[in-house]
Amino acid sequence: MRHRLALDRIKCDGYGMCAEILPEMIALDDWGYPILRDAPIPGHLLDLALRAVDVCPVLALRLEPVLRDAVRERRAEGALLGGR
C-alpha cells in the first residue's frame, strides 16, 4: 500500500518543519508554505514522512493511501476548475 502526502491548506500556517524533515518531497515557497511533490512516497522515506506528519504543530499534514481510482478521480476533478 503506497501513500502520498496530503495537506489541509487552511490549517497549514507555514511552519515549514515538514520541509526540513523531508526535503525530498516538500519544498517551501517564498513565504514558507509547502509545495508538495505529488508522487507516492518511496519506501525508504516513509519513516521521515511519518515524522514530518507528527511534527507539524497544527496537524495540517497527513498521509493518504494511493488508490488507482482515487488518482484518476482527482485528476478529473482537477481538470474542472471552478465548481461555482
Binding site: 511552519y15 518543519m17 526540513e20 524533515i21 511534527v55 504543530p57 497544527v58
Partner: protein, 194 residues
C-alpha cells in the same frame, strides 16, 4: 537513611520538574515563533518541546509519588488527588495539585490531538500560563530549599526565562498578524462597474 533518601528525592524531582517545565515553555515559544539558527532547524524546537514535556511528567510523577509514599510526610494519596484537602501548607500544596491537573490536561489533549478541535486544544494549551506560575509558587511555598541562595537564583532564572519567553511570544504573534493582514488589498466593496 531511607527517609532522607526519599526526602531528597522528592525535593530533587520537584526542582527538576520546575526546570523541565520552564524548558517546556521556552521550547514551546521557540516553536511558535519559528526560531531557527544554522544547526538548529525549526523542527528541533517542536520535537524537543514534545520530548521534554514527556520528561516533565516523569519527574512530576516521581515527585508526587514519593511525596505521597514517604511515611515521614503525613500526606496521603488524597493530598495529591484533591488539591487543598491537606491541611499541611494547604494553599501552597494545593497549588501544586492544581498545576498537576492542568499539566495532565495539556498533555492528554496534545497526545489525543486529532480527537479535539483546534480551538479546544489551544485553549487548554494556554493553561500552561496558569500551570507554570502555580508550580513556581508551590515550590516556593512548600519547598524545603526555599531560603537557600541557590534556590532563589534558580527560581529567578526560571522566572525570567518564562517572562522573556512570554514577551517574545506576544510580540512575535503581533508581527505575524500584521504581515498577514497587510499582504492583500481590502475586498471590493462595490462591483467593478460594467
Amino acid at each position: 537513611m531511607i527517609e532522607s533518601f526519599l526526602w531528597y528525592a522528592t525535593r530533587g524531582a520537584g526542582i527538576a520538574s520546575l526546570i523541565m517545565l520552564t524548558g517546556v515553555v521556552a521550547l514551546g515559544v521557540l516553536t511558535a515563533v519559528r526560531w531557527q539558527r544554522p544547526g538548529w532547524p525549526r523542527f528541533l524546537s517542536a520535537e524537543f518541546h514534545q520530548a521534554v514535556s514527556l520528561l516533565t511528567i516523569v519527574f512530576v510523577g516521581i515527585h508526587i509519588l514519593i511525596a505521597v509514599l514517604d511515611p515521614y510526610t503525613s500526606l496521603g494519596v488524597g493530598a495529591a488527588l484533591v488539591p487543598f484537602s491537606s491541611p499541611y501548607r494547604q494553599i501552597w500544596l494545593g497549588l501544586g495539585g492544581v498545576s498537576m491537573y492542568l499539566i495532565a490536561a495539556i498533555i492528554v489533549t496534545s497526545m489525543l490531538r486529532p480527537h479535539f478541535g483546534r480551538r479546544t486544544w489551544r485553549v487548554i494549551h494556554w493553561l500552561t500560563y496558569a500551570a507554570w506560575p502555580m508550580a513556581l509558587i508551590h515550590g516556593i511555598g512548600t519547598g524545603s530549599d526555599t531560603g537557600a541562595l541557590w534556590m532563589w537564583v534558580l527560581d529567578a532564572v526560571c522566572l525570567f526565562t518564562v517572562l522573556g519567553a512570554v514577551a517574545w511570544r506576544a510580540t512575535a504573534a503581533d508581527a505575524a498578524l500584521v504581515t498577514r493582514e497587510s499582504a492583500l488589498p481590502p475586498p471590493a466593496s462595490q462591483r467593478i462597474p460594467r
